[in-house]
Assembly symmetry: C2
Homo-oligomer: 208 residues x 2
DNA sequence: CTGTTAAACTAAACACTGTCAAGATAAGGC
DNA sequence: GCCTTATCTTGACAGTGTTTAGTTTAACAG
């Protein structure tokens, strides 16, 4: 791994340079106005250069989404590390991480969950997405008193948890004037506590 | 109101013709590849013609989103009319209507909730969106035993209900290979019953 | 019926966009 | 050293949204 020269014909590590520039383009202009030519120009390269590494624009966006899923899971685990180790606390921390990721990376979140042109054959995309999903399921299962006796309940609780967390994340990250955020403020409860409350409610605090 | 002539220079009712063609374009090519020129060509008119009625593409899409919110509310009410009149049953029916709308109109749903370029100054858009929101809140409040004594609970329940319904709708309508749908099938419960169960759980069946 | 005004739409052009085929350049293996 | 392969450029093409100026028609006043 060598430092890329200044004006070399070969960039050195163009692929990652493109990914970085592409994310900057994403936050700057949004997914709706994403321009491949602009990211090429930003790093001083020809519009056709990215095609060689990613095939086409969708390939680049797909790779970006895959990285997004990796970072999403990382943020969830990071949250969990800084919190009590009981099952319910872990689940809540994971959910808050999910929500924070969506709020802090709205365009990336939109790309990951609401973009219909992603290349579903992309291996690392499906792998990282699957990893994030598995992590959720295991977190929910850990809150179940007896997994064998209540398989259906584990299933339903997993859906409930996922659905509430994703609903919060989606609504909070999408709107500019945000009704859900207004409700949260009017509740008099800080964000993490309130959404934690909702998550706990979703998995049915009855067995505690 | 006269029937539009065949090849008249003036189309007669071009504005609604464009809206209809635009929705067809939306379902045919998706929001990501929406083309204004294609909708113009589909109704045999110049690419610049829509600009006169909608300003620009965003104007057209915004109007489409506004119609979407109107139809969303209509579908919810339609569901509620065909169901028992108790408060909880009404809330569930409304939520199922919301979900069904998202599943049956995925691109429109994406436009309404995940499109960042919508013109937020568009009056009918904000009006119809507000109407849909108010309807939700009133549905939740109707399930509260005493609105005055538990204002905060009404608030939290409204958030919980909205968030679960929207989460389900968003996840179900976005993916092609859909993990949530898989979970639903594995639960052995039909879709409406299962999601109704989740909604009831969200508003806290404790007061029943 | 006639003349005028305002609305609806066209024509042509512009600056973009993503993508492709062909060629130039450099790196790495032998 | 040469040769092969990966990397990037050049130049072009079709398609996109939008704008300006001009043409056609409807609506309306007399």
């Amino acid at each position: 791994m060598q430092l890329p020269r200044k004006k070399a014909y070969h960039h050195g590590d163009l692929k990652t340079a493109i990914l970085i520039a592409a994310e900057a383009e994403l936050v700057a202009h949004g997914l709706e106005s994403f321009s491949l030519r602009r990211v090429a120009k930003a790093i001083g390269v020809t519009p056709a250069a990215p095609s060689h590494h990613f095939g086409n624009t969708n390939g680049l966006l797909t790779e970006l989404a895959a990285l997004g899923f990796r970072r999403l899971l990382a943020e969830q685990k990071d949250r969990q590390d800084r919190v009590a180790h009981d099952a319910l606390g872990q689940l809540v921390a994971s959910g808050i991480g999910y929500i924070d990721f969506a709020v802090n990376n709205p365009n990336l979140f939109q790309l990951m969950f609401n973009w219909r042109n992603l290349n579903e054959d992309h291996e690392t995309l499906v792998a990282h997405r699957q990893a994030a999903y598995d992590h959720l399921v295991s977190n929910v299962e850990a809150t179940q008193p007896d997994a064998h006796q209540s398989a259906r309940r584990a299933l339903v609780d997993a859906m409930a948890a996922w659905v509430t967390v994703h609903g919060i994340a989606s609504l909070l990250s999408s709107g500019k004037t945000n009704r859900l955020a207004e409700l949260q403020k009017r509740s008099g409860t800080d964000r993490d506590s309130l959404f934690g409350e909702l998550i706990v409610k979703a998995v049915g605090a009855s067995h505690f």
